[in-house]
Amino acid sequence: METNLCVAGFGGQGVMTLGKFLADATCNSTDKKVTFFPSYGAEQRGGTANCFVVISDDDIGAPLGDVMDDLIVMNGPSMNKFLHTLKPGGTLFINSSIVSGQIGRTDVKLVKAPVTELALEMGSAKVLNVIMLGVYVGYTEVIAPDVVWETIEHKLASKPKLLPLNKQAFEKGLELGRAQRG
């Protein structure tokens, strides 16, 4: 079993952090193979930033596959850039606050979460990535939610005052993800 995930959005939306939290949690809490590969290059402010996470029971070949099982899209330009990489039957997670649900494909599952609005309601636009991570883990159960939270907690250890907001964000995401699971 191998899951190829691409996370894409604006620079500043925390897409790298989302991917790293998930991959790090997999490393810490399971025996699975896992890779994280960031896009790098002539990235511009306001352009797309993206990363790839592969989680597998066997040795991983490329840390970025040609075909994605799951795709998380945080903004419109990323949809245009990556939708074609999602395999038929794959799952598309969209930030429905700013990405249209009219995707022009009927062969993929669509999970919507208005993470920009929810983050603003919670008082900080910055936690939208943690909400989306919750949505992804809640929907796919690719690894256990509590170990993902432990990793977030560990990463934020030097900033304890951020923990309650991130906990709220992660749990809201889990709830949204679980609710849309078939």
Partner: protein, 359 residues
């Protein structure tokens, strides 16, 4: 030992620190920047020295100096930066100074592209500078292997009094993967390593001129220069014992993929997929690309092997020359190539194997 999740470049730097590297000098270039960045934080913690030189040439010569004083020393860069360092590397080889350097290679030639590539194969294995010197060249295909080979590289360098090159690429350097880190060498062990170099290194002669060390990147006497070159040639031949390769499902293979580094792990995942479909594919992956594991290719059953498929991120192909020297016309060689910073696609490898199987 616990697994930690690390970026390739950072894991290489940590492995070097654990191997006793206490001097690093480098200059920024993508995609190897996390190596100097990591050393800049880590060296002060272990009493080592980090210098960001004013150029690649300056930094490699600082390593030449520090290693001449007996300290385990390292530099790193990416393709065009490695080209700039070639003078200093050749000097180290000529003066028989042990040092380790990493090439986190990117597209070329020239400035090329900052994305991953395997365009430096000839440079690494044939001519990393003037004068025909050779080095052991180690080519990891996972972050764990990058750690293990970096750790071993310092032992090879000291054993041979010769530079050792870690030839990785932008994928291995920038990806993160779980690793188990090797043991940290103690201060006493590091001091003992340095003391063992006292017969030749510039460790201070304390007014005893009989013990004066003299580091020379060349000789005034043609006779002495020839003698030094003969000694070096004998050293290079002795590396036959150090050859390392991974052979995967080769015995009954009808197609054998030959690849190193990132292309090899993509090739291996293609082999697994092909085997699941009933296609007898196999893989030979040199871990040392110099010395090259020519003998591994003698384990192919050429009565059933339709072709060897050379998979590399270089156009024109380079690694294929060593593959051809190993296959010795016993079967055809096909290529599956990409370049310019594009990463090898498993789908392309699968298609190439299927086209061979269909004849």
């Amino acid at each position: 030992m616990a697994r930690v999740f690390m970026k390739g470049c950072e894991a290489i730097a940590e492995a070097a620190v654990r191997a006793g590297c206490r001097f690093f000098a480098g200059y920024p270039i993508t995609p190897q920047n996390e190596i100097p960045e990591y050393f800049s934080r880590r060296m002060p913690e272990v009493g080592g020295v980090f210098v960001q030189g004013e150029s690649e040439v300056a930094s490699v010569n600082m390593v030449y100096g520090a290693a001449s004083a007996g300290t385990r020393s390292m530099t790193s860069s990416s393709s065009p930066g490695i080209a700039l360092k070639s003078e200093g590397i050749s000097y180290c080889a000529s003066a028989r100074i042990p040092m380790v350097y990493a090439n986190i290679s990117r597209g070329g030639p020239g400035v090329g592209s900052i994305q991953p590539a395997q365009m430096d194969y000839f440079q690494a294995t044939r001519a990393s500078g003037n004068g025909g010197f050779q080095m052991m060249v180690l080519a990891p295909s996972t972050v764990q292997e990058a750690v293990d080979l970096t750790y071993a590289a310092f032992d090879y360098a000291d054993r041979d009094r010769n530079p050792v090159l870690l030839l990785a690429d932008g994928v291995i350097g920038t990806m993160m993967e779980p690793v188990v880190l090797p043991e940290m060498k103690s201060d006493a062990e590091i001091a003992a390593i340095k003391a063992s170099k006292q017969p030749w290194a510039c460790t201070g002669h304390k007014l005893d001129c009989a013990h004066r060390a003299w580091i020379q990147p060349g000789q005034w006497s043609t006779a002495v220069q020839q003698e030094k070159n003969e000694e070096a040639a004998a050293l290079y031949l002795s590396w036959e014992k150090d050859v390392q390769a991974e052979e995967y499902l080769v015995e009954d293979a009808e197609v054998v993929i030959a690849a190193y580094g990132i292309s090899a792990r993509i090739g291996k995942s293609a082999v697994n997929q092909l085997r699941a479909q009933g296609v007898r594919a196999g893989l030979i992956r040199p871990i040392t690309v110099h010395p090259f594991p020519y003998a591994a290719f003698d384990h192919i059953d050429y009565s059933r092997c339709k072709a060897v498929l050379d998979v590399e991120m270089s156009i024109p192909a380079q690694f294929v020359d060593d593959v051809a020297a190993a296959v010795k016309d016993r079967c055809p060689i096909r290529t599956c190539l990409c370049s310019g910073g594009n990463i090898m696609s498993r789908e392309a490898v699968l298609a190439a194997v299927k086209s061979i199987m269909e004849g």
